[in-house]
């Protein structure tokens, strides 16, 4: 007898081109079938009016453990993930100590398994101590579970080091994820440079800080035939460059964070430190270019750059506040606006949060294929709710959507066939 039957839901499984009202059944924590179920099940979940899709993957998350557990730890971050329908997170290496050697990688994976709510795939550091000087032992980190490499938070700024990182990593088909920021252009900046920064008298970061680093990196990718991924792309110029590089056949990919396609720099006009992140919110033109990139496939992945901070680090004035916002619990509802506006079909949108990142990182996840782990997100695409930052599951309260109406809400999250999140009960 089947363990669980999810019936009457609108099942969307982009990896298998499923987009239909049908059933999903699960046995032994694995997907047993998708289609018309006939037989008996121990437990029946009614998903009428809901969308049933693979558990979401967020490939850009900061969890702060080890080192800054007061901001977030693996348990609170895992809980926040499943509350957002996310069953796999890739965590950035800028912990303390950072993930530049196998010990930390082993530690965070073990801790995540102990918590047991979602998959955690560490992203290893490119350089030792994130200093941008010497390479880490990437093969060793990979062997212990690192799924890609990045110095995120900082760019690998030195062109010579970047070249070597791309050459070495691509010898083993590893992916390098770049936080593209030319610090010499952005030093001291807090928000996007432009009319808003001028009016506030706050030092800005010009879009050229991002664009110029990507231009250089694309040249190095061409030189090295490496796999290069631009993290949290935010500018029109950057999207255009990635598009051209892809047309040329270079292995250049990118991701966009929900805030960069949902919000603009106008959010900080009232000095709102909870709308401060790096790269910063940019102009309407940039926002529309990011949406265009999502539409035409230039941007294959939606990832949050979930960056929890303690309130004390945000309550000190815009220019002094820490960079970053939380995103795990808002990724799905904020992204659903792309479907409502007609920019993306529901299936294409879900692909950017499931099979696309899985393919990029070679993860055996993000689909409802028979035999794969029963990691499932069930959500109501129309449910309206008001986001209250004090009710976030994450330890971070730093969200620009406090008090805003969200459309779309996760109802159930299943991990290995177990209901780990149920709306209203966590």
């Amino acid at each position: 007898m089947t363990d669980i039957l999810i019936q009457h839901g609108h099942v969307i499984d982009p990896a298998n081109q499923v987009d239909d009202v049908c059933d999903v059944w699960i046995s032994d924590g694995k997907i047993e079938g998708v289609g018309k179920f006939e037989g008996e099940a121990q437990k029946i979940m009614d998903a009428t009016g809901l969308i049933v899709c693979p558990g979401l993957i967020d490939m850009h998350v900061h969890l702060r453990e080890p080192g800054e557990e007061w901001k977030e730890d693996i348990e609170s971050g895992s809980r926040a993930a499943i509350a957002g329908g996310i069953t796999s997170i890739c965590t950035m290496p800028n912990t303390e100590p950072c993930m530049d050697h196998a010990g930390i990688i082993i530690q965070v994976i073990a801790r995540a398994k102990e918590v047991g709510l979602c998959n955690l795939h560490p992203i290893g550091a490119v350089s030792r101590n994130l200093k941008g000087k010497e390479l880490t032992e990437m093969r060793e980190l990979s062997r212990h579970g690192a799924v890609a490499f990045s110095d995120d938070g900082k760019a690998i700024w030195h062109a010579g080091v970047m070249r070597k990182a791309l050459e070495y990593s691509s010898s083993f088909n590893f992916l390098i994820i770049q936080h593209a920021e030319e610090k010499q252009l952005t030093e001291g900046g807090a928000i996007n440079e432009g009319w808003v920064s001028t009016q506030l008298g706050v030092t800005g970061m010009p879009v050229e800080g991002e664009d110029s680093m990507i231009a250089r990196d694309i040249m190095l990718t061409r030189l090295t035939d490496a796999r290069y991924h631009v993290a949290h792309i935010s500018s029109k110029g950057a999207v255009e460059q990635v598009r051209l590089a892809q047309k040329e056949g270079l292995k250049v990919t990118t991701e966009a964070a929900p805030h960069h396609f949902a919000l603009t720099e106008d959010e900080v006009l009232n000095f709102n430190a909870d709308a401060k992140m790096s790269p910063p919110l940019r102009t309407e033109e940039d926002r529309l270019a990011v949406i265009e990139g999502l539409k035409d496939g230039t941007i294959a992945v939606i990832a949050t750059d979930h960056a929890p901070h303690h309130e004390d680090d945000k309550r000190c004035g815009l220019s002094c506040a820490a960079f970053g916002i939380v995103g795990l619990e808002t990724m799905l509802p904020v992204s659903l606006a792309l479907e409502r506006s007609g920019a993306l079909s529901m299936s294409d949108l879900i692909a950017k949060m499931t099979c696309n990142p899985a393919q990029l990182l070679h993860l055996d996840e993000g689909s409802l294929s028979k035999g794969s782990a029963a990691d499932i997100c069930i959500f109501d695409p129309k449910k309206e709710w008001i986001l209250n930052r004090d009710k976030l599951v994450s330890k971070g309260r730093n969200t620009p959507w406090h008090g805003k109406t969200m459309i779309g809400q996760v109802q159930y999250t299943l991990k290995d066939g177990r209901v780990v999140f149920q709306n209203g009960e966590l």
Partner: protein, 314 residues
């Protein structure tokens, strides 16, 4: 609760102020000039009111100006500067603000290097009126009101007149506040600076932008000189040398004459003689610089009166 005058709960900046509010404050300041020139400089207007000057950035004129303004109106004035404050002991801005607000002052006058400090604190300090005495490169409203009072005395109606602001516009809260006031009060602003000292899209303010000082002189009624804020510069590359800066953007007698006999000179201070302004110009009869300082006291009396001098509402 005190009933604020002119609908002013706080004084954050020129942004958000109406023409009527600006004019009312300038006129009220005008009325206070008289007290400052009497032999007994005291009025009971703010008796029983407490004003705290909380200065996180160095300041001589603005802090003294607020202190004298409060004292001449009989308020109890307390000065706190960053070098002696709890900030040195690691206390956050918010905690310092809340601590002082808990002592129930009527007004907190704040200067801080972080733009938006008053806006930020106002979310947490509900019963204290806040005056922005300069926040980073954002706004400096009492300086602009001061300038408008000085101009009222020297050229009358400012409408249609042209103010040419020269120097470090990028880091200047005074320039930003003037650009906003110009729109409200109907005067023109020209900006003169190399691109390194201009912020992005500054022309969106509706001002003219010049890189050639000499080209901006003709038609100027007020030459408004700014100090280069070296403390806010992040590299040595904003201009090559003081020598070249003075040559290109310094106001000397030759340029003052080229602007015409009607042209007045202003500066918010502190001045760097031999950099943005030559000594003969600073000391010339065209210079309104000391008058600005004098009127600064009167305007701060007006600002304090507006925020805490009104009738008590039981």
């Amino acid at each position: 609760m005190l009933q604020p005058l002119f609908g002013l709960k706080h004084l954050f900046g020129i942004a958000g102020m109406s023409r009527e509010q600006i004019t009312s404050l300038v006129n009220l300041g005008d009325n206070f000039i008289d007290i400052n020139s009497r032999s007994v400089k005291k009025a009971p207007t703010l008796r029983g009111r407490t004003v705290i000057n909380l200065f996180f950035e160095n300041s001589t004129r603005t802090r003294t100006s607020f202190e004298i303004a409060g004292k001449r109106l009989s308020a109890d004035v307390i000065n706190i500067s960053a070098s002696t404050s709890a900030t040195k002991k690691g206390e956050t801005l918010l905690d310092t603000g809340q601590t002082l607000a808990a002592m129930q002052p009527h007004v907190l006058v704040i200067r801080h290097s972080v733009a938006g400090t008053c806006e930020f604190l106002s979310e947490y300090l509900e019963n204290t009126a806040l005056i922005n005495a300069g926040d980073g490169s954002h706004e400096h409203p009492t300086q602009i009101l001061t300038d408008l009072l000085t101009l009222k005395h020297n050229i009358g109606d400012i409408k249609g007149k042209t103010m040419t602001i020269v120097g470090d516009i990028a880091h200047s809260r005074v320039a930003r506040s003037h650009l906003l006031a110009a729109k409200i009060m109907g005067y023109n602003v020209r900006l003169v600076a190399p691109k390194t000292l201009l912020p992005a899209f500054v022309e969106n303010y509706g001002c003219e932008v010049f890189h050639d000082f000499d080209a901006a002189l003709q038609g100027t009624d007020i030459l408004y000189m700014l100090r280069v804020q070296t403390e806010r510069l992040t590299t040595n590359c904003y201009f090559p040398s003081i020598r070249e800066y003075h040559e290109t953007y310094g106001l000397n007698m030759k340029r003052l004459k080229a602007a015409g006999d009607h042209c007045m000179v202003m500066h918010p201070g502190p001045m760097n003689r031999g950099v943005e302004i030559s000594t003969d110009v600073a000391d010339s009869i065209k210079s309104l610089i000391l008058e600005q300082v004098e009127h600064g006291v009167a305007i701060r009396m007006a600002a304090l009166t507006a925020l805490c001098g009104g009738a008590t509402e039981e």
